[in-house]
């Protein structure tokens, strides 16, 4: 059997702790464990990959056999893979204000119960609150002698309130996750907001769909950056011919106001000290002043198509690395929200996010706001519910005419290829002219 041109091993062990409160009852709480490794070997042509649960790194002859087992799978491929040379080196994991693992789970349960209780304002018929804490101990080594070891602990909570009246039901939802330590203390305000929003939505009308000017709040505009641009900027999709941004380097595709960045080195929820194949992480401007500037890359996609730098290979424990976003955001502009509303004049303000999706090959995206407000004469009017927005990447970015200076980041999880990784998205308020807004309202 030929020798491996390269191999790496990424072994992740850890614990997941959760608390699930349902209408003040502790529905479940506790800790589970995981232990998975991925061994990748590059044969004469392409990759052979082995995933093993309950991994114990062998040494000597047994180690060689392990690499050979991965390599034997590579015999199936005829695709000549080249890896770009990269700089290694891991950043320190940002410090935590309070290590969640040092707080007893009973205390976490009590803190979460306080948040859930705050959501139970009069008129709320159902509440649910969840806490999740994920500790990961990562060990990486490759055939070039690079070795990294680090641990992260991500934790956070969500709270949902359901308001009911005469058979009608509406939902308010808040969540916050962090890499920087336990965030459960003194957060009853978010519970209360979930409850009060659910009540307000009982009086909100369904949005009427159509083409109109839309103002996106920082959370939704962050999802816009992620769905409308970030995915299409992923080097593997570009390489496969599955992205509308393929071949567009240097081309203006949006307003000069628009700079969209991905940066795994930011101490936000999508932080990585080093990427999943040992590359140093850093800032990539996917769009710079409206012009396509770079793609996000693994070592392989960088070698294949260039334009950018490696450092965006990420993986769930036990899964092979994929090119992924991390902390994605639109840079601040110099307008204010008042100026944006005045410029919009008539349209809709969209707030919060229920997620989104993109078809990067077709260049079409969709995402959903949790609620919104009609805008008339530059002033906020009545509340609307269940409103979504769809658009085409290559047209929509030209329609961003104003960006405020109030960027904020929000945390979430992004799915791709069956893997879910922690990310953050952010943006300032921005004005999107002639947006296609979806809603089931007719009046």
């Amino acid at each position: 059997m030929p020798e491996a041109r390269y191999f790496d091993i990424r072994h992740v062990t850890g614990e997941v702790t959760h608390v699930d409160l349902d209408n003040t009852v502790v529905e479940s709480a506790g800790t589970s464990f995981y232990d998975r490794a991925v061994i990748r070997a590059l044969g004469p042509d392409g990759w052979g990959i082995l995933t093993v649960d309950h991994f114990r790194r062998p040494s000597g002859k047994k180690f060689e056999e392990l690499i050979e087992e991965a390599l034997s799978l590579a015999s199936l491929t005829r695709q000549k893979v080249t890896l770009s040379e990269v700089t290694g080196g891991a950043l320190p994991v940002p410090s935590m204000t309070e290590d969640p693992r040092s707080v007893p789970i009973g205390e976490k349960k009590d803190l979460l119960a306080g948040i859930e209780k705050a959501a139970r304002v009069p008129g709320i018929v159902s509440t649910r609150a969840g806490y999740i804490e994920r500790y990961e101990d990562v060990r990486f080594e490759d055939s070039s002698g690079n070795e990294y070891a680090y641990a992260t602990c991500r934790s956070g909570f969500s709270v949902m309130a359901v308001a009911g009246r005469n058979g009608d039901m509406q939902m308010g939802y808040e969540r916050e996750h962090s890499l920087r330590g336990l965030n459960l203390r003194h957060r009853q305000d978010l519970g209360r907001e979930a409850g009060e929003r659910a009540l307000s939505l009982l009086d909100a009308r369904a949005a009427k769909g159509g083409t109109m000017h839309a103002v996106l709040d920082p959370e939704l505009a962050g999802v816009f950056a992620h769905e409308a641009v970030g995915h299409a900027g992923e080097g593997d999709l570009v390489l496969e011919g599955g992205s509308v941004l393929a071949g567009k380097i240097g081309e203006g595709i949006g307003s000069p106001l628009l700079t969209i960045v991905d940066d795994p080195s930011l101490p936000e929820f999508g932080f990585e000290p080093v990427d999943a194949e040992g590359s140093r992480v850093g800032r990539t401007e996917i769009i710079r002043k409206g012009v396509v500037n770079a793609y996000l890359h693994s070592r392989e996609t960088l070698a294949a198509i260039g334009h950018g730098k490696a450092g965006n290979a990420r993986a769930m424990p036990g899964e092979p690395p994929l090119v992924r976003m991390s902390n994605t955001y639109i840079e601040n502009g110099d307008s204010s929200l008042d100026e944006i509303l005045a410029e919009c004049r008539s349209g809709i303000l969209l707030k919060g996010s229920r997620g989104g999706q993109v078809d990067p090959g077709r260049g079409v995206f969709q995402f959903n706001a949790e609620y919104g407000y009609l805008i008339g004469d530059g002033e906020l009017g009545s509340m609307v519910r269940d409103v979504s927005l769809s658009g085409e990447i290559l047209q929509t970015l030209h329609s961003i005419t104003l960006c405020a200076g109030d960027r904020a980041m929000h945390q979430g999880y992004c799915g791709k290829g069956g893997q879910s990784v922690p990310v953050s998205d952010g943006a300032p308020h921005m004005l999107l002219k002639n947006a296609v807004v979806g809603g089931s309202g007719t009046g």
Binding site: G30, S32, E69, T77, G209, E240, Q366, R385, S390
Partner: protein, 434 residues
């Protein structure tokens, strides 16, 4: 882990667990898979996987705790975590884990001829590539995977069921100009037709090019099984969960015995369906399964319960537990959802056919309101495609869209835990760009 070692481990955990709690449940699984992935027309990588999982649940004085691990050697820590979890949980009424039943243990979804071998995945990929040649498209990516697994479910009442399963899946994505086409299939037996999957993906991309704009308005639409399964899964199925019903989170909560869909429509969970990927004679807790007629001729008949929620709300478990909770713990789910209703040529009369939707997961799970972008949508008349639609949204409500249907197609396909036909729906709101 060898079979005898697995059996011995399960026994040890049950014995040790019985000293710490009233009842103990152990689920031990192991398996292997081979997957291969296409990048354009070349195999990008092949991946092998060996996996194992242990999930332990204890019940003590009505308090339930669970934990899971991928390292069965760690079973003592896992058992300790389950016991600690139970100490935190609120005590609930609990009817007890099931006693053993005399069930046939011949697996319902295991094909001994399906083996996770690299060459088999290669053949699937090559077959799909060949299939795409029927239309002038480029391949962007594809994948094929074959897996086998075995599992043991045992509890301190003497229940000890074993099962095996197999699965094969294949998927391919194509593009022509700026139109994409994605097709996939999976099965528990070796009956996939990769040529057909490839051809369908290519047809979707190819026939979606040159799309026309459409005016905003009300249209009759036909949802493919893929599009329909996403909207059902995001809204209607969670509303059938007894937990959501009693916790005040289901729009169906007070509608038992009432008309909730078109009187021609029935919705049922059939755990014995021959093609179902989740076919089983017992659920994740060992409760004997049965066909569950949730909606019969439009009338809501029942909700889904596991033991915990059945005990809590004075109901029996409906055998609806699946392993979807934290640490692999059981929670309420479904096995093989299928529909019964009037079968017609759904595209004979003019309609917009919607193959896929973008963003179904953003639907409001409580109210059922949704707005999604269409993928591979075309106007059909007399069963023939008139023209593709370039871009439009479908906005509506999952509950009200089922109140008046225009029929179901005769053909069905398996999509995860659904076995669905095309469904024709009347007067749905389309937001176009014309």
């Amino acid at each position: 882990m060898r079979w005898w070692a697995a059996v011995e481990l399960v026994e040890r955990i049950l014995q040790e667990g019985a000293r710490l709690a009233d009842e103990v449940e152990v689920y031990l699984s192991s398996g292997s898979s081979i997957a291969a992935r296409l990048q354009r027309r070349e195999i990008h990588y092949a991946a092998g996987s060996r996996h194992q999982g242990l999930s332990i649940r204890v019940i003590h004085k009505g308090c339930i705790g669970a934990s899971g691990t991928q390292n069965p050697d760690q079973w003592r820590e896992c058992l300790g975590a389950a016991v600690a979890g139970a100490k935190l949980a609120t005590s609930q009424p609990w009817n007890g884990l099931p006693d053993p039943a005399d069930l046939d243990q011949v697996p319902l979804n295991f094909d001994p001829d399906l083996r996770p071998e690299p060459e088999s995945t290669r053949e699937l990929l090559l077959g799909m590539i060949e299939g795409t040649a029927a239309y002038p498209v480029e391949i962007t990516s594809g994948s094929a995977e074959i897996s086998v697994y075995s599992e043991i479910l045992a509890n301190s009442h003497g229940l000890n069921y074993t099962s095996r399963g197999s699965n094969v899946s294949a998927a391919i994505e194509t593009i022509r100009e700026q139109s994409t086409g994605y097709e996939f299939d999976n099965s528990w037996k070796s009956d996939l037709d990769p040529l057909m999957i490839g051809e369908k993906a290519a047809e979707l991309a190819s026939t979606s090019t040159g799309g026309k704009e459409i005016a905003t308005g009300e249209y009759n639409v036909v949802l493919s099984p893929l599009a329909f399964s996403q909207l059902l899964g995001a809204v209607f199925i969670p509303a059938l969960s007894g937990r959501n019903v009693h916790a005040g989170r289901s729009r169906l909560a007070n509608l038992l015995g009432q008309q909730v869909t078109d009187p021609g429509l029935s919705i049922l969970d059939d755990p014995f369906h021959q093609r179902g990927l989740s076919a089983t004679r017992w659920d994740a807790e060992g409760t004997t399964t049965d066909v569950l007629p949730y909606v019969k001729e439009g009338v809501l008949q029942m909700f889904a319960y596991d033991i915990k929620n059945g005990s809590r709300y004075g109901k029996k478990s409906t055998g609806s537990a699946v392993r979807a909770g934290p640490g692999g713990a059981p929670s309420i789910g479904t096995h093989n959802i299928r529909l019964e209703g009037p079968r017609t040529d759904v595209l004979e009369e003019r309609a917009i056919f919607i193959h896929d939707v973008v963003g179904a997961h953003t639907a409001n799970p409580l109210t059922g309101d949704f707005s999604v972008e269409l993928s591979n949508a075309s106007v059909f008349e007399g069963g023939v495609r008139e023209y593709p639609i370039r871009k439009a949204m479908l906005s509506g409500n999952v509950f009200s869209m089922l109140e008046e249907i225009g029929g179901l197609s005769r053909q069905e396909r398996v999509i995860g835990s659904f076995i669905l036909p095309d469904i024709r729906l009347k007067n749905q709101r389309i937001i176009g760009n014309e």
